[in-house]
């Protein structure tokens, strides 16, 4: 595989693992906080949506059936993604799911030209905000398959790699 030939120095691997773990920590804590808080709902966040997709978010908030699903998916999604990233398990899957979530948050209040967040933000943003930065960082985690660096994916990928390698050897042997 092409990506298998990429060489990372130990320090690069450590940096990528650290990136994966810190993002995972953030997700996990966001999820745990919501699970621990009785009656937590995404409604408030969704209702103050602005930007091109605002109507969709408002609709989500005003549709109780859908809101219930969103609340559960959000709480458990954040938690599971966080866990996965922290221990480096199925990182491509959890990381991709994390990117989707972050982009949903981003699109809820995108700092596009002319739009601004309804609540005072702690910084100044134009198009790029922390959600987008975190999503991009997660993209790096996904494409470098950073779960293999000090993560369970190393064991999982080792198993499958060996399995593939043995299959190839078997095929080669049959060919000979």
């Amino acid at each position: 595989m092409k990506s298998e030939t990429v060489l990372f120095s130990p320090i690069q691997k450590m940096a990528l693992a650290l990136l994966r773990i810190t993002i995972g920590w953030h997700f996990l804590y966001e999820g745990v906080v919501k699970i621990r808080k009785p009656g937590w709902s995404a409604a408030g966040f969704l209702l103050q949506a602005r930007g091109p997709a605002a109507d969709i978010y408002h609709w989500m908030a005003e549709n109780p059936d859908f809101l219930n699903v969103i609340n559960e998916w959000n709480k458990w999604g954040l938690t599971l993604i966080g866990l996965g990233l922290m221990v480096g398990c199925l990182t491509r899957l959890t990381g991709s799911a994390g990117i989707i979530l972050l982009m949903l948050y981003y699109l809820c209040n995108p700092p596009f030209v002319g739009y601004f967040y309804s609540l005072p933000a702690e910084g100044s943003y134009l198009i790029v905000n922390k959600n987008l930065v975190e999503a991009t960082a997660l993209l790096v985690v996904v494409v470098t398959r950073a779960g293999r660096f000090f993560g369970l994916d190393l064991i999982l990928s080792g198993r499958s790699r060996r399995s593939d390698s043995n299959k190839q050897q078997a095929i080669a042997a049959v060919g000979e």
Binding site: F8, S9, P38, G39, G151, L154, I155, R162
Partner: protein, 480 residues
């Protein structure tokens, strides 16, 4: 020649035969090396949870050791949005045990609330019928009623007669006759009835009334008052279709449809509209701070924005009250509109020596007082900590435009240094439960709630009448 694998490790060009499923020990150790971060996370989470618990405990009034006192067994009657708000406050008050919850929306509200309580390790019994709850829950000492207005009287009176103390949400009732019956029931049974005008227990409002108005008389003679609650457009309340209440049960409890059940505040015969839902809180403050109920009311209002078929009560109301206060005549203007949230909600009292602007909200207008330039100095009150030092209003130095001779100099702004650090309703509920224990007096007993109900419900009458309506002194009292 060496080639590298994905882990940056070098391997011989000729691969070693590998046994399927066998993983090198070094890989396993490396693979597991992230796991300790979970431990670190768990440790941090525990520390954070302990810190939050400690903060919560600090915020709760612990003037007396509460553990020694037996818990007050309380039930929540009406577990909708307002019931949830009250419950969240009750869960922060030590010495309470929420024994039962009652709501006719058993499929949703009741289930949600009972499950929420479970998270706090409170096993509350759920009921659809409050009579069954009163019958079965013999140990209940108090009931918190947060049902729609048109149910308040029936629920409150039956609870009082069953020997329970009652905290009933405002508006006391949508009918004055029913509200009067509630006052009588409280008198007859000798049980406590607190009406949920929670600003009466708000430390900032109490500070302003007791210290700034009564003791220091910082406003001098109050001549005008103003209040507003501007709220943004809100969609009607929906409901998860699969959890809809069966039609038969809706009818049994007086709701023509699920839409009526969810949006009862807009329907005549059920609620009183925004002037009652929102205005009632602030008009209550007019009466309290001005020291008497009004003599007259003039009002204009209508359903100007929403669909009148589903919004029978007025979405926009403007009312003017005329008062004969102990200090002299005063006029108060109040408006509520539900189509624009700009400038939110607050009350203003203007006297010949100062202006007080305050709001329940901590976000804006949380409390400021402005001294008229002709008023005596307030240094003494600043020294005592009743108000902060002045923030001097300055005229822009670069302004070339001279002040008009008719223009008064802007008064200096002082802040009111009293803030609420608990949810809005907690102090008022605490006052209720402390009163049950004999440690306090109710801040809004039935008679006060009735006076406010008379004052507020008359606005809707005045809107319909298109003329100035008068109150008779006897209107505000319930004869025995």
């Amino acid at each position: 020649m060496k080639q590298s694998d994905s882990n940056g490790e070098t391997e011989s060009a000729t691969p070693r035969p590998i046994k399927e499923g066998k993983i090198e020990r070094r890989e396993v150790l490396q693979g597991l090396s992230s796991l300790p971060t979970l431990g670190l996370f768990g440790y941090s989470l525990c520390r954070q949870a302990a810190y939050e618990d400690a903060q919560d405990r600090q915020r709760q009034p612990t003037s007396e050791p509460t553990a020694r006192r037996p818990a007050i067994q309380v039930a929540l009657l009406g577990a909708g949005a307002q019931g949830e708000v009250l419950l969240n406050s009750m869960l922060r008050i030590p010495g309470l045990y929420v024994r039962a919850v009652c709501d006719i929306w058993t499929e949703y509200n009741l289930k949600r609330t009972v499950n929420t309580l479970k998270k706090y390790k409170i096993e509350a019994n759920g009921y659809e019928d409050y009579r069954e709850m009163l019958e079965r829950e013999k140990d209940l000492e108090a009931v918190v009623v947060a049902t729609p207005d048109f149910w308040h009287a029936r629920h409150t009176i039956d609870c009082l007669r069953a020997g329970k103390h009652v905290y009933c949400e405002k508006e006391m009732s949508n009918s004055l006759e029913d509200a009067g019956q509630m006052v009588l029931a409280a008198r007859e049974t000798g049980r406590l009835l607190q009406i949920g005008h929670q600003r009466r227990s708000h430390p900032r409002y109490q500070h302003c009334y007791r210290k700034l108005l009564r003791e220091a008389n910082l406003l001098g003679r109050i001549v005008t008052a103003y209040g507003q609650w501007n709220r943004s457009v809100k969609p009607d309340q929906g409901w998860p279709k699969r959890y809809a209440i069966p039609e038969e049960r809706l009818k049994q409890y007086g709701y023509p449809s699920m839409a009526h059940f969810r949006n009862w505040r807009w329907y005549k015969g059920m609620g009183g509209g925004p002037i009652v839902d929102l205005g009632s809180h602030q008009i209550d403050i007019f009466n309290w701070f001005l020291g008497s109920p009004p003599d007259y009311v003039t009002a204009s209002g209508g359903t100007d924005y929403y669909d009148p078929k589903t919004h029978e009560w007025y979405d926009t109301v403007m009312a003017i009250y005329e008062y004969s206060t102990p200090a002299g005549k005063a006029r108060a203007y109040y408006q509520t509109q539900t189509t624009n949230g700009s400038q939110g909600y607050f009350e203003t009292f203007m006297g010949d020596q100062g202006t007080l602007v305050l709001s329940e909200s901590e976000a804006a207008y949380s409390g400021a007082i402005y001294r008229e330039v002709s008023a005596p100095a307030w240094d003494e009150w600043v020294r005592r900590g009743y108000i902060t030092g002045p923030k001097v209003q300055t005229v822009r130095q670069d302004s070339q435009i001279p002040l008009d001779v008719r223009e008064s100099v802007s008064p200096d702004e002082h802040r009111i240094p009293v803030h609420l650090t608990v949810p809005y309703h907690q102090s008022h509920l605490e006052n209720f439960f402390q009163s049950i224990r004999g440690e306090a007096r109710l801040n809004c007993p039935a008679e006060t709630g009735y006076e406010t109900a008379v004052t507020v419900l008359k606005v809707n009458e005045a809107v319909e009448a298109h003329r100035r309506l008068s109150f008779r002194p006897g209107d505000f009292r319930v004869p025995s």
